[in-house]
């Protein structure tokens, strides 16, 4: 086996371990989200989060910041994934 192939195998193993860590994070996050969803009424939560806040942070402005952040971060991660997969599949030969 060439040195490059060996490095690629080790690299894939490292990616797999990193992905396992992320899956664990995802599971914990979903668990906590489900717990919150069971306990909370969303419209009540939105009202509570608005109280004692200036106008610029009352719902829906607050949720607008959250959604735009999510979209921007999501697009960044998707961009990284697309470039990452393209790089991984490129033929160096």
């Amino acid at each position: 086996m060439s040195a490059e192939n060996r490095a690629l195998r080790w690299g894939l193993l490292s990616l797999f371990v990193a992905a396992l860590c992320v899956v664990r994070f995802l599971r914990t996050f979903l668990d906590e989200l489900v717990k919150l969803r069971i306990k909370a009424d969303v419209s009540l939560l939105a009202a509570r989060m608005s109280q004692l806040k200036p106008l610029a942070w009352k719902t829906p402005a607050l949720f607008a910041y959250g959604i735009v952040t999510l979209l921007l971060v999501g697009a960044t991660i998707v961009g990284l994934l697309v470039i990452g997969v393209r790089d991984a599949l490129r033929d160096d030969g």
Partner: protein, 477 residues
Amino acid sequence: MKRHLDLVLVVLVVSISILRGLFWIGVYPALKIADEPSHFDDIQYRAEHALRAPRAGDKVINPVLSPTASRELSTLWAATQHLWQAGFTTRRHAVPEERTLRDMASDPGSRVTNGQSSAIVYPGFAYTVATIPYLLFSRASVLVRVLAVRVASLAWGTLFAVCTFFAVRWTARDRSLALVGALFAIFQPLAAQQTVAVNNDAAVIALCALLFVGQLALLRRPADTPSRGWLILLGCVTALALDTKPQAWALVPGTMLLVLRALLASGRRRSTQVALAVGVASFIVMRVLVHLICDRMAPGIAAASVVAHPSIGPLGFAKFLWDLDDKFIDYLFSTGWGSFCWLDVHLSSAWQDDLHSAALVLWIACGIAAAIAWLFPDTRRFWDPGPVAFSFFTAATGFMVILFAEYYARTYFLAVRAVQGRALLVVLPAATAFFATVLGTIVPARLRTLLAAIVAIGIVLLAAGSLVTVVAYEYVG
């Protein structure tokens, strides 16, 4: 074109940082992040009465909210304590307390404070700067002024993220890793909280990040021809950071190392000596200037900060390190990752377990990366040895400075756990640069961006988890 790409990434980092911060600012209830009332009291004193620090009285200072704080701040504190968990009784989006606070804003008497809050022990640069957003909204409700000061902290936080981007970029020379490094600075749960709070932490971590980037810039140049511009920047930023919070001392050994390197490399070259003298002079001038504008150190506090305890020394510190228990390291770890809202709520034990697992994987990766660097020294590297070693040195020095602060507190004040893990945020860019290099080393170049994407997903999930923890605690209970 490639330089242009860096600029695009910086704009992306700035955009994400600001939007994320605006969201986080709204999620945390006013004054509920640790010590916000006392920091705001100090800022209010400077904005309403004098730019310099209040004179310390002889009474014991209340660590939460001074009984002599302004009426409007006390009213807001009472309201935010009441509107919490089961305290919410209505589905309306506004509460009567908002009108009360708005009415109070037009009464100058409701703003009077003598500034006797626990923040009085800190140097004042960050507080004096924070009077700018305060004064911009001086006629608005105290609620608006509190959140305006939080936005100023967000500006510091954005500087912190941009500096972390360059710290990784100049260490690992990989754009995807630099982007993930910046995302880590934005979303690390405690950094995300501290950079949207009324405090002096946001300023000190941003100034220390800028200091570290300045040090790296100096390191990238030949040792015998240090840049005069960067030296002046280092001098000024060091002075400002030291006048913000004591943990800025963690970055000082790095600067001294670089100065020593320049002196050894240049011999007696006059131009180098002049450049170093200019750097030192800029530090002294800025230190004196900022002290005159922002500080009025009370004699008692000044004495406490300079008088050394007879039992404090290298041997005592070595013994402290030898006797250090795992519980304190665990405490630093947990308070460095997720102690929110006045330390009453932490990331759950499930998150802590996940973080411990990820940390273990990272340490194993460090071992593998070190083995690769040692066994295959001729491999084409994507990282520069100098900046990587310097990043490790800075991160390790920061950790030792924090441990020394705990040792000092235990010996001098007989206080245990006086230092929290969030103090380590001042060396987060250095640690990020080092660990990003490690992660990049264990995979071949073609898999590096994919690894960066996977790590980015993990960072964002952790941040989202921390936010769910805060929302569940504050608004649901």
